[in-house]
Structure formats: structure tokens, C-alpha cells
């Protein structure tokens, strides 16, 4: 463990792009650890001495407190959705993050798990009695079957690499939805899906509540992360990363490349299938549309936002994305906090020094007051719409933003102008950028209060898009991802 400190400025202003010299492997194992200056750095160093399983257990215990803080079913459902996404992101991390195999059919394993569990835990097969396996049998069987399916799907990776492998797995994912939707409707239910699935039954109790599934998922998440961490630090984990970095060199080192790739697929598939069984048991029904491409996109977004290659990152990314999407963006008021918060955060991060930031914000406030006064003097109806949101932000900006009484048309124009201004902002430099920033910020507030708040469902999707763009631009390696040194 080195105590040597490089000046922090070097890291902060390090140029983007492949660096030359120390590669990830060396950086991880020795020599190049960097710490923040002062107390923060000491805390970091202290944290690194704590064994990983202590951190994991502490995080698990913290999660276990959540149901004591809330009994609200909606919030628990968000927790369930978030942990499902986190488990899926962690599983996807095996093939994408560690082994470097772009698997675009991953969501089908999730669906396979859900459908597999549904078939052996409902009246769908062999009616009217149906098939009802014990949870202890059905879940492992489904996971193992998914593992074999993973091997089958991964088989083309023998010859296919990169995006060619991605497209074949994408076919598999699409084919799964087509298959469940159209083939054997009497068995798989077609678009009607499978309903009345047995819930989980563990330790003699049938789990029916959201709280129950919250704990089930928490335990599974902690277990999965634990097992995968062990796997990551084992020979297999090193083999995966070796294959990711350089297939040729690793085969030279007698790593069985193909078998290692298949293992990545199989483990990922088993983890996804496990999540699928919980999903089916909690929803008590499954439909083909649950496993379509849009959900795959969410899993990928969660993993990459968090940082591909990092277990903690995958978990964090899945949790944040799901909580943002289901918990915050569904409510217009809270979406407002995100909207204004995102703008402020970007300004704080991007604009230095503080005086400049203050000047821009002050100018924006002044600009708004002037515009509002002028417009009101010319035509009172042009400001009659008022902010359409509610809450303290609305009260704050009430006599500041211009919202006509019928904002649709003007709002649409303003929205387009706003997009153009934002793109223009990226293009110009220096003083012009500061000057342009003022009307852009003001217009953003007007558009939000006039158009976006009135259409919460569409706005939710727009904000999701914006968050993805902004986050990836802010941290191309994800929240907890490390910058990989690519050997050129």
C-alpha cells in the first residue's frame, strides 16, 4: 500500500482518452492509488482497510432498515423494482463489464426465469390441477436451466466477436418475446400471459406482501453480490478480464477462452433468471411485454451509469435509475426538483469561479424580472398562465416566468428555441457563453412551468433522456467505474 500522493490537480485535469503506461491491473494491485487531500483521503484509506464483506453486510443492514421507515406499499414497490434492476445490472456486469461481451439478449434470461417459474408454479401446464413445485426446487432448477440456455446463446461467441455477437444475442432477445407471444398459446398464454402464479414459499411462510419481497430481494442481492465478488477475485474473474483485455494474449496464456466466455454467459443468465422468478412471484403474473427491448435498455443504462465492471457501481446504478424513474419522475413536483436541481448542479460543476456563477444567476433573475414586467405591460394575457406546477418553487417563480394563458402553441415554440439555445451554448465559448446562458436558463424555467409540467408522462421520458446524456457526459466511465487504460 503506497502512501505516495500525486497532486490532485493532475487527476482532475487529466486529459480524457487512453493513457499510456500503467494499466488497470497494475493500478489495482499496487502503486497508483490516489487519495483526496486531507481528511477525506484519510477516511478513504481507512475505508479501504475494512474487509469487503463488512461493507456488504453494512449496506445490507442499512437496506433492511427501509421497511421500518416506511410501510407505504408504493415505496416498497419502488424498492423492489430498484433491487430487481440492481440484481439484473450485476448479472449483466458479468458478461458486459468483466468479460467484455456485449449481450443484447440479456433480458430474455430474465423472461426465461419468470416464465420458467410461472410454468412450474401455476395451473398453466397440466390443467386443472396444474404444476406446483416447491420454491426450493423450482428456483434452482430454473436458474440451472437458464445457465444452460446461457451456454447455448453464448455458443456463437466461439466465432463471433464484438458487435456481431451483440446482434446475434439481440435476435435471441427479440425472438424470446416473439416466441412467448405467438407460439403455443395454450401453454405459454400468448399475449394473455400466465396469471395466478404461486408466490414464494420459504421457511414455511407464503410471501404475499411487498415487505416480504423486499427482504427476499435484499437477501438475494447481498448474496449475489457476495458470490460474484468472490468469483471476481478468483481465477475465473481474472480470466474474464484477461479475455476482455486481449483474447489472443489470454489464449496464449493457456486460458480456455471459449469456456471462460460461456461461463460468463451462464452465470449472467442464472442471475437474471433468479431475478425473473422473484418478479413472477411478486407480480403473480407474467406477460411477454414485460421482457421487451425497452426494459433491456433500462438494465444497460443502470449498469453503465453505475460503472461497468464495478459491482458496487452496478448496484448503485440500478438503484438510482429505478428510484429516479419510478419514484421521483412520476410526480410532477418532484420531477421539478430534479429539473431545477440538474440545471443548478451542472452550473455548479461547470462554472468557476463562484463569482462568475453568481453573476450569471443574478443576471438571470434580473433578466426574468425585466422580461416579465415588459411582457405584462404589453399584454397581460401573455403572463396569465402562471406557473403550472405547485409547491414552493411555483410560488417563488410566480411573478417571474412568462406563461401565456393558453401555453400550447407558444410553449412548443419556446421548447424548440430552448433546444436550439442549449445546442448553441455548447458551441460558443468564453464570454458569449455566459451571455447566452442567461436567456437559456430563463427560457428553461418558462418552458418547464408552461409546457413540461402540464405533460408529466411525456416529461418523464424526456428527463430520462436528458439525464442519460448529462450523466454520461459528466462521467463517461459511470459513477463508480474506473477509467480503463486501453492499450493502443
Amino acid at each position: 500500500m503506497s502512501t505516495e500522493q500525486t497532486p490532485p490537480a493532475a487527476e482532475a485535469e487529466a486529459p480524457q482518452g487512453p493513457g499510456v503506461g500503467v494499466d488497470e491491473w497494475v493500478a489495482r494491485s499496487s502503486g497508483r492509488r490516489e487519495y483526496a487531500p486531507g481528511r477525506l483521503g484519510e477516511a478513504q484509506r481507512l475505508l479501504e482497510r475494512v474487509p469487503w464483506w463488512v461493507i456488504l453486510l453494512a449496506a445490507g443492514l442499512a437496506g433492511a432498515c427501509v421497511p421500518f421507515l416506511t410501510t407505504n406499499d408504493f415505496q416498497l414497490q419502488i424498492g423492489i423494482n430498484a433491487m430487481l434492476l440492481a440484481i439484473l445490472a450485476v448479472g449483466l456486469n458479468i458478461s458486459v463489464g468483466w468479460a467484455g461481451l456485449l449481450d443484447l439478449g440479456y433480458v430474455a434470461f430474465y423472461g426465461f426465469g419468470a416464465y420458467g417459474y410461472a410454468l412450474v408454479s401455476s395451473n398453466q401446464l397440466n390443467p386443472p390441477a396444474g404444476v406446483h413445485w416447491s420454491t426450493y426446487i423450482s428456483v434452482p432448477v430454473v436458474m440451472i436451466a437458464a445457465g444452460f440456455l446461457g451456454v447455448a446463446v453464448g455458443w456463437p461467441s466461439r466465432r463471433l466477436v464484438g458487435d456481431y455477437l451483440a446482434i446475434v444475442t439481440l435476435f435471441f432477445g427479440e425472438a424470446f418475446v416473439e416466441f412467448t407471444n405467438n407460439v403455443a398459446p395454450s401453454k405459454l398464454g400468448g399475449p394473455n400471459g400466465i396469471v395466478s402464479i404461486d408466490p414464494y414459499k420459504v421457511f414455511g411462510t407464503t410471501i404475499l406482501t411487498n415487505k416480504g419481497y423486499f427482504y427476499v430481494l435484499l437477501v438475494l442481492l447481498v448474496l449475489t453480490v457476495g458470490v460474484l465478488h468472490l468469483l471476481d477475485t478468483s481465477r475465473t474473474g481474472r480470466a474474464w478480464r484477461a479475455v476482455r483485455e486481449d483474447t489472443l494474449a489470454s489464449s496464449l496464456m493457456t486460458i480456455p477462452v471459449f469456456r471462460v466466455k460461456l461461463m460468463a454467459f451462464a452465470f449472467g443468465a442464472a442471475v437474471a433468471a433468479m431475478a425473473g422468478t422473484v418478479f413472477a412471484a411478486q407480480q403473480i403474473n407474467v406477460f411477454p411485454t414485460d421482457f421487451a427491448t425497452p426494459f433491456l435498455i433500462l438494465i444497460y443504462a443502470g449498469l453503465i451509469l453505475g460503472g461497468a465492471g464495478s459491482l458496487a457501481g452496478a448496484v448503485l446504478g440500478g438503484l438510482i435509475l429505478s428510484v429516479t424513474l419510478d419514484g421521483i419522475l412520476r410526480s410532477p413536483t418532484e420531477a421539478g426538483y430534479i429539473f431545477y436541481g440538474l440545471i443548478l448542479a451542472t452550473l455548479v460543476v461547470k462554472i468557476r469561479p463562484w463569482a462568475r456563477l453568481g453573476a450569471i444567476l443574478g443576471a438571470t433573475v434580473l433578466f426574468g424580472i425585466v422580461v416579465h414586467t415588459i411582457v405584462k405591460a404589453i399584454s397581460p394575457s401573455a403572463v396569465a398562465g402562471g406557473p403550472q406546477s405547485s409547491g414552493w418553487i411555483s410560488d417563488l417563480v410566480h411573478n417571474w416566468v412568462v406563461v401565456p394563458s393558453n401555453p400550447t402553441r407558444a410553449g412548443n415554440i419556446a421548447y424548440v428555441v430552448l433546444l436550439v439555445l442549449v445546442i448553441a451554448l455548447v458551441q460558443v465559448k468564453g464570454r458569449w457563453r455566459d451571455i447566452l446562458m442567461v436567456p437559456t436558463l430563463y427560457l428553461a424555467a418558462c418552458v418547464w412551468e408552461g409546457v413540461l409540467v402540464a405533460q408529466p408522462s411525456i416529461t418523464r421520458q424526456i428527463l430520462l433522456g436528458v439525464i442519460l446524456i448529462v450523466m454520461m457526459n459528466a462521467r463517461p466511465n459511470g459513477l463508480l467505474g474506473r477509467r480503463r487504460v486501453e492499450v493502443v
Binding site: G190, F287, E334, R475
Partner: protein
């Protein structure tokens, strides 16, 4: 390193905000309807209702229409009854898993007394028990699967539309008796609504000795020329039980392009100003709202709010209206509108007439009593002309 700390801090803030935020979500209401000016009423009747539908995603065309009509109904009823009902929207993208989340958002919100929607039968299947547990009434304007009411799993479920097992046979029998095809083609769009109707119709055609060509095409497909090429000269009828009227329009264009003479028979999903192929038949649950004098005001307002509306809006208007009236009647009887009160009032609904051109009254399962069936033929100007109704 600094960047990472800042982003981590931001992420944490977001999570904390989520934690605090979602607990306050129960107090969230949209003020859009509140500005209707109901302050003059003596005792304010305040309530919040939800609407679930696919407001974005593949079938946003359906959900946005429903949303526009629900907003319209709320605005009009608030003015007429002096109530202050606000609408909270929950986007499901026609995905049962998302509908489950949204439903718990609604049922966890203590101010919420009833819900309009969800739109799809699978969604109702997924959320019915949740609404049942919460004792909250929910009325759909488009879920037609018979199991939803037959199974008894959805005690608080109501619908203002007919069931597949009623509409399907009526359509099929009309085709057999009046259009008398020797051979017909029926194409489902691989969605619940469509496969349900298809499986209700095919046996009737086969029994009548009609040669049936069953095809199936995803509703995301925009070109049907390769299926149209399979329409034989003997095929005189093509049945399209589809949700997206614009697709039926394109199917008609493809027929004309390839000089095929078959007549299109669309179900209620295709009843829309987007589907105007002359000579086609369209069956529906309600009359054209433009043709009912009493609905003129609604029709005009709807035209302004959502110019190209079709079959999905009016039933949602009716459903929202049922809830509005239920809330209003609870208030008038001097009680506060709670879930139980509103549920009881919805159960006892008895409207002599509605936007759907028929009385609205529910049976004990939540089905509409005496659901009507209308059949239109599209004339050369693309207008819907009533052929028959029962």
C-alpha cells in the same frame, strides 16, 4: 477524484430526495383542474382521482386520446357540479409491470378515491387484486377480455365497454348473414384485444362453412403489402380486429394499390377519423358522438382538445363521468368522498343516457348492463353512417 466525489454526492442527494420525496407524493396534486373556478360553490367537494394509460410508448396514440377525454370530462363535470376534482396521471406504456407500480402509487395516496383505466386487459389482470385490496373503484374504457369480470378476482373493477365474447360473435354473425363471404381473411395484431376477438370469431366463420385465412401481424408493422398480396380474388371480406386505426387505413391503401376488391370489416379499435376507407364496415360500442345532438358540446370540445379522436376517448369520458358523478353524489349526501363511499356510489350508478348513446348501469361483476352494439359503414366521403344497432 473531485468529480467523482461531486457526482457521488449528487447521487446521494437524489436518493435522499427520493426518500423524502416519495413520502410527500401523497400530497401532490395537479392544479390544472383547480383553476376551474369552483370557489363559488358553498361547500367544496374536493377529491383526487387517477388515470392509468399508455401516455407514452408504442400506443401513445391510444393513451393520449384517453387522457384528453378524461381531462375534458373532469373540466366539464367540475363546472357542472361545482366539485373540485383533480386528475393525477400514471403512465403505464401498456406494460402490466409498470401498471402494478402506478397502481400502488395510487392506492398508497390516501387522497386518491378512484381510478380511470388501465387501458389493457393484461394490465387489469395485473392490478385488479391490488385495487381490490385497497377498496378503490377503477373503471376501464378499453379492457374487453371476458375473464376480467368472470373470474371474480377483480371486485372493484368496472367497465363501460362491451366484452370480447359479446362483440366478437355479433361481428361474426353479421358478416356471415349479411356480407356472405365464401372466403375471408382475418388478421390479428398479436395483442390481447385482437387475439381475443379473433378466437371468438373464427369458430363462427368455420361453422358457417366459410374458408378462413388466419394471418397475424405485429401492430408495429407499417406496411401490409406482403399480406395483402395473399388476398385472393374470392376473398371478399378482410376482418381487422385492430387497436391502431391508422394501420387499418394503410391496409386499405395497400388493398387499393394492389387492386384487391375485398371489404374491410374493422372492430371498435379501428373506429376513428384516421380510418376512412370507403365501403368499410366498423363495429363499435357507441354511436358517433358527432351524431348525437345532446353530445354536440362534448364533441366540439373534444375536437378542440384532440382533433383526431376515435374509439378510445369517449368510453374514458364516460368512465370519468361516472366517477365524477359518484363523487358529487357522495358530497351531496353530506358525506366526504372516501374510497368506500365512492365505490358504493359507482356500484349504484344509473345514468339514463351517456356519451355512449346508452344508459350506464353495472351488473354485480362490473360489466355494463345491456351493452349495445353499433355497426357503421364508411361512405365515399369517409363519413361513418350507422347501418344497424342492437
Amino acid at each position: 477524484m473531485k468529480g467523482r466525489i461531486i457526482t457521488a454526492a449528487l447521487a446521494l442527494t437524489a436518493l435522499v430526495a427520493a426518500g423524502c420525496g416519495s413520502s410527500s407524493s401523497s400530497s401532490t396534486t395537479s392544479s390544472a383542474a383547480a383553476s376551474g373556478g369552483s370557489s363559488s360553490s358553498t361547500k367544496s367537494c374536493v377529491a383526487t382521482i387517477g388515470i392509468e394509460g399508455p401516455f407514452t410508448g408504442d400506443v401513445a396514440v391510444l393513451g393520449q386520446e384517453q387522457l384528453a377525454f378524461a381531462k375534458l370530462a373532469i373540466d366539464m363535470d367540475n363546472k357542472a357540479n361545482g366539485t373540485n376534482i383533480t386528475l393525477v396521471q400514471g403512465d403505464t406504456q401498456l406494460d402490466p409491470a409498470q401498471a402494478t407500480t402506478v397502481t400502488q402509487q395510487f392506492t398508497s395516496n390516501s387522497k386518491m378515491v378512484a381510478t380511470v383505466g388501465p387501458a389493457g386487459s393484461q394490465e387489469v389482470q395485473a392490478v385488479g387484486p391490488l385495487f381490490g385490496r385497497a377498496g378503490m373503484a377503477f373503471i376501464t374504457g378499453s379492457a374487453t377480455n371476458p375473464d376480467l369480470t368472470k373470474s371474480g378476482k377483480n371486485p372493484t373493477f368496472f367497465r363501460v365497454v362491451s366484452r370480447d365474447d359479446l362483440q366478437g360473435p355479433q361481428d361474426a354473425n353479421y358478416i356471415v348473414k349479411n356480407l356472405k363471404p365464401k372466403r375471408l381473411m382475418i388478421i390479428d395484431d398479436q395483442e390481447v384485444y385482437s387475439t381475443g376477438l379473433t378466437s371468438a370469431m373464427i369458430p363462427i366463420f368455420k361453422q358457417a362453412g366459410i374458408q378462413v385465412d388466419h394471418e397475424s401481424v405485429s401492430q408495429k408493422v407499417t406496411d401490409f403489402s406482403s399480406i395483402v398480396a395473399k388476398v385472393t380474388p374470392e376473398t371478399t371480406v378482410v376482418v381487422l380486429p385492430w387497436q391502431v386505426a391508422a394501420n387499418a387505413q394503410q391496409f386499405g391503401k395497400n388493398l387499393a394499390e394492389q387492386k384487391k376488391k375485398a371489404t374491410i370489416f374493422g372492430t371498435d379499435g379501428t373506429q376513428s377519423s384516421s380510418f376512412t376507407i370507403p365501403g368499410s364496415y366498423v363495429s363499435a360500442f357507441g354511436p358517433d358522438i358527432n351524431s348525437i345532438p345532446a353530445d354536440a358540446a362534448i364533441a366540439a370540445a373534444a375536437k378542440a382538445a384532440y382533433p383526431k379522436y376515435g374509439t378510445f376517448g369517449p368510453p374514458v369520458f364516460a368512465a370519468t363521468h361516472v366517477i365524477d358523478e359518484a363523487i358529487s353524489s357522495v358530497c351531496k349526501s353530506g358525506q366526504t368522498p372516501s374510497r368506500a363511499n365512492v365505490l358504493a356510489a359507482v356500484k349504484g350508478t344509473s345514468e339514463a343516457s351517456s356519451i355512449l348513446g346508452q344508459p350506464i348501469k353495472f351488473d354485480s361483476h362490473g360489466d355494463l348492463i345491456g351493452a349495445k352494439w353499433f355497426l357503421f359503414k364508411i361512405n365515399n366521403k369517409g363519413q361513418y353512417k350507422l347501418v344497424t344497432n342492437t
